[in-house]
Every structure is written in C-alpha cells, then in structure tokens.
Symmetry: C2
Subunit: 159 residues, 2 copies
C-alpha cells in the first residue's frame, strides 16, 4: 500500500524532457514529400508508382485536393481478390475522405505520433485548408509516417 | 567562425536524457509476439495469415529456427508478377538468412531503432542463439517494429 504522506525520489526529472522536446517540433519540420496519383490511374499503375517511389502509402488527389489514401495492404487485398488491376481505377480501392486522419503542418509531432498510434495507420497526409466556392477543402502538402518517427528518435539521441 | 575560447550556454542539458532513457530500455521490454509460418505454406495462405493477424511482416521458420522474412511489399510484387500464389511456397518469395537484420532481446531500443532506420526495414526479428550440432542457429522469440517505436514515443511522453 502507498503511504499517504511523505515524498519519494523517483530518479526522474520533474519535467518530462522528451514530452517538451516532442511538443516543440512541428510536423512541417520533419515531414516528407508525399507521393500522389489521380483517381483515374489504374490500380496496376499505382502499384508500379508505389514500387518506383519506394513508399508504403499513396495519396489520391483531384486538382491537388485530397480525395483518398491507398496502402500496400489495400493493394494486396485487391490483387489477390481477383479484380482486373489493369482496368480498375485507384478510386475503386482507396479509403475515401472523410475517413482519413490528417494533420496540419503547424501541429506538433506529439499530436502526429498520437494520431498514428491511436488510428493504427502508417502515415498521415499533411494538409492545408482551402476554401473553394464556400466549401472547405484539404490540399496535400506533405506526409508524416512511422519512418519519420523512427528517424526522429535516432536524431533526438544524437543531439 | 567559432571562437577558440570561452563557453556558450546552448540551452540543452549537458547529458542527453533522451539517449540515456532509450539506451536503458531493452528490446525484450517492448517487443511484440511474432507471426510465424513454415517454408512450405503457399504464398496465398501466408497472405491470408498476414491479414488475419493484421501484421506487415511474417517470419518464416523451420523447427523454430529463422530461415526467412516476407513483407507486404514482397507479396505485392509477386501477386502482380503473375506467379500462381496458390502453388508457389512462401520459401520462393522470402528474403533468406543471412540477408536478414536481427536483434537480441537484451540489446537496447537504441540499437534497434538505429538498425531499423539504417537498413530501411519495418521490423526486426528478435532472436536467441542456439548451438545445434556445432552450428549456430537463431530461434525467433519476438518482433520489434516501427509501430513499437511510435508507441514507445507516446509512452515516454506520458511518463
């Protein structure tokens, strides 16, 4: 049982330095260049793009506006599912807005890593809000992934 | 040019506390349960196993000994490559030992995250050395991935 009075020295500094540092780094400081394709591209061509760019997630855009996300998992499911990947467009297999977790460039890495863990995704599209004909739209400007987090951890240890 | 004498206050503590903390956590403290299959399993069945277990990498074993690794990327490449995934065994598409980067359970997370970043892999098989008939073999006992790293970052901020 825990005593009700007295203090114990826990060995940890009072302030969480990792939290402080992670909250001070913004998404735009470490984000990557996203790989984007259009909705009309065939699933086959999108998979080839994925291999050429050596990425695990592709963002689908329409005039720069985010409309969907496709991952290796989505492609694999469809590739073994017997669809004609040369004919079916990527729009048919992607996860659509608004079912995509996004992040803004000025948000902190702390928010990003929490979203990645909570939503069990490999990456988040980094977006900017645009207002077009009175409607709010999201323009893709970057990508932040588990790989960025692993690299960040390496960097933080080196500093 | 940097002056040759005098000290500057950098705002950073002299000791890198993040590095200290990352180096004090062992792989076995945060590793996951690995998904393993045998070499004879068909590529199709291995892909189904991957989906059922919701994992991105599968380890291929022979009597508990690590012989190969297959990722979603390997499966996707082969699924669109026109092989008969129902007939071809997983042994035909896997990355084989000794071309696999592994880690021991008593090593630190610092070593693990550096290996993941340097070798550009999603996960590392956690292994134990066994000596069998005078030959050194590696038994798979866990898995450490970029997801474990993202979760660790969240945990370290909460503490």
């Amino acid at each position: 049982a825990r005593p009700k009075v007295g203090y114990f020295y826990t060995g940890r500094p009072h302030v969480n330095l990792i939290e402080q540092q992670i909250k001070s780094i913004r998404v735009e400081d470490i984000m990557s260049v996203p790989v984007v394709v259009t909705e009309e591209m065939s699933v086959y061509d999108a998979i080839v793009t994925m291999f050429l760019e050596d990425t695990g997630t592709i963002y689908v855009v329409s005039e720069g506006i985010l409309v969907g996300v496709v991952s290796r998992k989505d492609f694999l499911k469809n590739a073994i599912g017997g669809i004609d990947i040369n004919k079916v467009p990527v729009a048919m297999v992607m996860t659509r807005m608004p079912n995509i977790t996004t992040i803004f460039p000025e948000e902190s890495i702390w928010v990003a890593v929490n979203k990645i863990v909570e939503h069990e995704v490999d990456s988040l599209p980094v977006v900017e809000k645009l207002v077009d004909e009175g409607k709010e739209k999201l323009k893709v400007i970057g990508k932040i992934s588990k790989s960025n987090m692993a690299k960040l951890l390496v960097e933080l240890c080196r500093e």
